[in-house]
């Protein structure tokens, strides 16, 4: 069994344990209403974590997913507020913004060969600042009924925001497992020199990973804006670290080439249930952060690389 799979299985077991413990301690936990709540709570984190999974798969990292989300959310809110053609096309415009940011990251990283950690640290600050500057620091309310109806209502028992999250997950899993692009992302993350010699267009794969990351990050920002009914400065920034935590808990290693969106889903579920349960048990919010941090550390220790001594010796 690989380290990553062990982490994933461990996470599933932890989820079951959490459900058992929270159900025992708090009768309100195991109710339809609360599970709808969990589904709704996890959706934005799910989409932003899937976004971040692609760059990590190719062995890089995108720290700007939160800022891209904020910028896109604000631009969508502005477009809806202005109305007209911009209002109708608000969502495509937001997604285009995300693609543009992803392209910027990808070009800086893959073409100019700057380390992704530093490039996206830069765009993290720059895009966040840009977003606040555009709206002068004041949140833009969203009053559009259609947007809320499509993205944040209920379809039967399911919150539509969750269904959108699941749809994104399904497409992401499809891309990773059944397309050439997905395969090449695993190859580049697994061994870049080997991928190069196998004929993989390494740069293109890297840029595409960042494009996907930007696209999905902007979608997560839009979902959050619709959910909170406003485009606010810094709205997605607080999701960056939980999303990296969720990716690692799921079993996508930061060294690249292992894991994928299906695993990230498990990580997001675990974190969300943990937070939800602690909220229901009225755990002090500061203490909640401590617990979340500890969970991430344990996950990292479980998934750490073990280098085999018995590699080929010439």
């Amino acid at each position: 069994m690989t380290e990553a799979l062990r982490t994933w299985l461990g996470s599933v077991l932890v989820i079951i344990a959490l459900i058992v413990v929270f159900s025992a301690l708090q009768p309100r936990f195991m109710t339809v209403l609360n599970w709808q709540n969990i589904a709704s709570q996890m959706s934005v984190l799910l989409v932003i974590s899937i976004a971040g999974t692609f760059p990590i798969l190719v062995g890089s990292i995108d720290l700007s997913v939160g800022s891209i989300g904020t910028l896109a959310g604000i631009i969508v809110a502005l477009s809806l507020q202005r109305g007209g053609v911009g209002g109708t096309l608000a969502v495509p415009i937001g997604l285009l913004v995300g693609l543009g940011c992803g392209l910027l990251n990808g070009v800086l990283f893959a073409m100019l060969r700057a380390p992704s950690f530093l490039v996206t640290l830069g765009t993290f600050f720059a895009l966040d600042g840009l977003a606040s500057w555009i709206i002068g620091g004041t949140p833009i309310p969203i009053t559009d009924e259609n947007a809320s109806g499509v993205f944040d209502s209920n379809l039967g028992a399911f919150p539509t925001i969750f269904l959108w999250g699941l749809a994104i997950l399904a497409v992401a899993v499809l891309v990773c497992r059944y397309t050439r692009l997905g395969r090449h992302m695993y190859a580049v993350g697994g061994s870049e020199p080997a991928a190069l010699l196998a004929g993989v267009n390494v740069r293109l794969v890297k840029v595409t990973a960042f494009l996907l990351s930007g696209l999905l990050a902007s979608f997560s920002g839009f979902l959050l804006s619709v959910h909170t009914l406003s485009g606010s400065p810094g709205q997605n920034a607080t999701l960056l670290l939980p999303s990296i935590g969720a990716i690692v808990i799921g079993g996508t290693t930061l060294s690249g080439g292992v894991g994928g969106p299906h695993r990230t889903f498990v990580g997001v579920l675990l974190l969300t249930i943990l937070i939800n349960g602690m909220q229901l048990l009225a755990v002090d919010p500061y203490l909640q952060l401590v617990v979340e941090g500890l969970v991430v550390i344990v996950a990292v220790i479980m998934s750490r690389e073990r280098v085999s001594v018995f590699t080929a010796v010439k």
Binding site: Y178, R180, V313, K314
Partner: protein, 532 residues
């Protein structure tokens, strides 16, 4: 080594470091088997042997980087145990590697005393000026006043850096008060220019009286010129031990010891590869053009002579040469990769048609390359066997459908696994779960998936067990019969003479000699003498 023991017991020598019957095993590979070696004070011993003979493993055992499974080490006739590199240093055993790492921003004196700063304190604080003075005294003492203690390591040439590393050994042994250090030099000469070589040689002469030295080399001429004694390893065992007089009297003795005839011999005999299935996998081709693959005017570096490189269909060509000879670079160049310093020649002719010398273009034209650095440049350890085999196929075929058909991939992989008789139960297992030999077969499977016309293979049987080797040779022959051209770079001369119809020898980035081996009658010794 009996000869070694006899002379020690005669009492006329001073053994500084001795290893007795050292054995070391890595997984399935027996890297060393009962190897003994004895280094004497005031002597330079050369350690010779082909790649894979066990030289590096022996060095690792002598320097505490790894521990032997069996055997003992004696320092000045006292048994010692080395658990770490530090233990070795404390015992006065030092190693200088061929490309000794150094901190390029550090001055010579800081590099020299790195890790020993505590010996240079004034009022409790480390004193740079004390260190600088000690370093400059030392350099003068060693006749190296041309090197300034305040030069930065990064500004020095590789040869000077190596000399500084050697001086550093003396410096540290002074600091630790080791009277007679043991100095191991791991291929000290491979990166040096001729002037630097002379300098290094005189430096070694200078240090000889106060230390025991071992140096590793493939170059036989060097071995005979520099060393007082030669210890030859082959296939992880002692092959021969001789004094300089014995070696000079019978020069061929060293060659013979290094390149003794491989146990497998030159007939592949019974093999597990299903050659008929290979025939079915590769369409038989008949080509009008005499050359399958040709490159004109290749120059690996600015000072090298240009050469043309042509290979016919159905031909197996072997490339021979010592490390640094350029044979691996020729392969990479042919595969369309960029080679440092090589002068660009843009077009490759395949079956008479020109192609751009670019990896992706050549891959589409059926030129496949398998790197000698299997772990780094070939294997995707965590991807499955099936995925590893399929990774290049779509790129080469130009059919770039959006979706992967995983069941199809599986079925193809299973066919290849049985064709190549790879020992595996499930093609969805990660590649890293297989042994080295089977991993190599999977990579060969990846090449076959591309319907190759030209295969460029770098040391394809390195680290592969004998049985698998034999089956790989049979695969090569049946591929050639089916019209594929194979170009093999190999350090194993027995392999080349038994498989290749033509053997090209490289030296210093140039083509020096070509042997016609169509009758299989070329002697490996003949090749070896042109290589060194």
């Amino acid at each position: 080594m009996d000869a070694c023991y006899d002379e020690v017991e005669s009492g006329s020598r001073l053994p500084a470091l001795e290893g007795r019957e050292l054995s070391k095993r890595y997984g399935a590979t027996q890297a060393l088997q009962d190897v003994s070696i004895c280094l004497e004070r005031g002597q330079v011993t050369a350690l010779a042997g082909e790649n894979g003979a066990g030289k590096s493993t022996l060095i690792r055992l002598l320097t505490g980087v790894e521990r032997a499974d069996h055997g003992v080490l004696l320092r000045d006739n006292v048994p010692i145990r080395l658990h770490t590199r530090h233990d070795a240093t404390a015992a006065g055993i030092f190693c200088v590697y061929q490309d000794q790492p150094s901190v390029s921003g550090f001055e010579v004196y800081r590099q020299t005393y790195l890790g020993y700063e505590n010996h240079f304190r004034r009022r409790g604080l480390i004193s740079d000026s004390l260190m600088r003075r000690a370093c400059s005294d030392l350099l003068e003492d060693l006749g190296l006043s041309s090197i300034s203690p305040t030069q930065r390591m990064g500004t020095l040439s590789p040869g000077v850096r190596e000399v500084v590393a050697l001086a550093g050994v003396i410096a540290v042994s002074q600091v630790l008060k080791v009277k007679h250090p043991v100095i191991l030099l791991d291929e000290p000469t491979s990166a040096l220019s001729i002037e630097e070589l002379d300098f290094l040689k005189s430096f070694i002469e200078l240090l000889k009286s106060r230390s025991a030295m071992l140096f590793v080399s493939h170059r036989v001429t060097e071995v005979l010129e520099w060393a007082d004694a030669v210890c030859v390893l082959r296939d992880g065992r002692n092959a021969d031990f001789m004094t300089r007089e014995m070696a000079s009297a019978d020069r061929d003795r060293v060659y013979r010891a290094m390149g003794g005839v491989h146990p497998q011999g030159r007939d592949g005999k019974k093999t597990p590869v299903d050659s008929e299935a290979v025939t079915a996998a590769i369409p038989v081709e008949s080509s009008a053009s005499p050359d399958r693959f040709s490159l004109a005017g290749v120059r690996l570096h600015a000072h090298a002579l240009a050469f043309d490189f042509r290979v016919r269909a159905r031909e197996i060509v072997g490339l021979a040469g010592v490390e640094g000879s350029g044979k691996e670079e020729v392969l990479r160049f042919c595969a369309g990769l960029s080679v440092d310093g090589a002068l660009e020649c843009a077009t490759v002719h395949i079956d008479g048609r020109p192609h751009r010398r670019r990896l992706a273009d050549l891959l589409r034209a059926g030129v496949v390359y398998l790197s000698g650095e299997r772990q780094r440049e070939g294997v995707f350890g965590r991807l499955s066997i099936a995925e590893n085999m399929a990774v290049s196929r779509r790129i080469a075929s130009g059919r770039q459908g959006l979706f992967i058909r995983r069941w199809d991939e599986r079925a193809r992989a299973e066919r290849l696994v049985s064709t190549l008789s790879i020992k595996v139960s499930d093609v969805s297992a990660p590649l890293q779960s297989l042994s080295g030999g089977n991993q190599q077969k999977v990579l060969l499977g990846r090449c076959l998936e591309l319907k190759p016309r030209v295969m460029l293979l770098d040391n394809v049987t390195r680290g592969v067990d004998i049985g698998t080797k034999a089956s790989i040779y049979v695969l090569f022959r049946s591929l050639a019969e089916n019209g594929v051209s194979l170009i093999l770079a190999s350090d194993d001369l027995d392999e080349l003479v038994s498989v290749a119809g033509r053997i090209i020898v490289f030296k210093g980035g140039q083509l020096v000699r070509e042997f016609d081996n169509s009758n299989g009658d070329v002697d490996p010794l003949q090749i070896l003498t042109t290589m060194v």
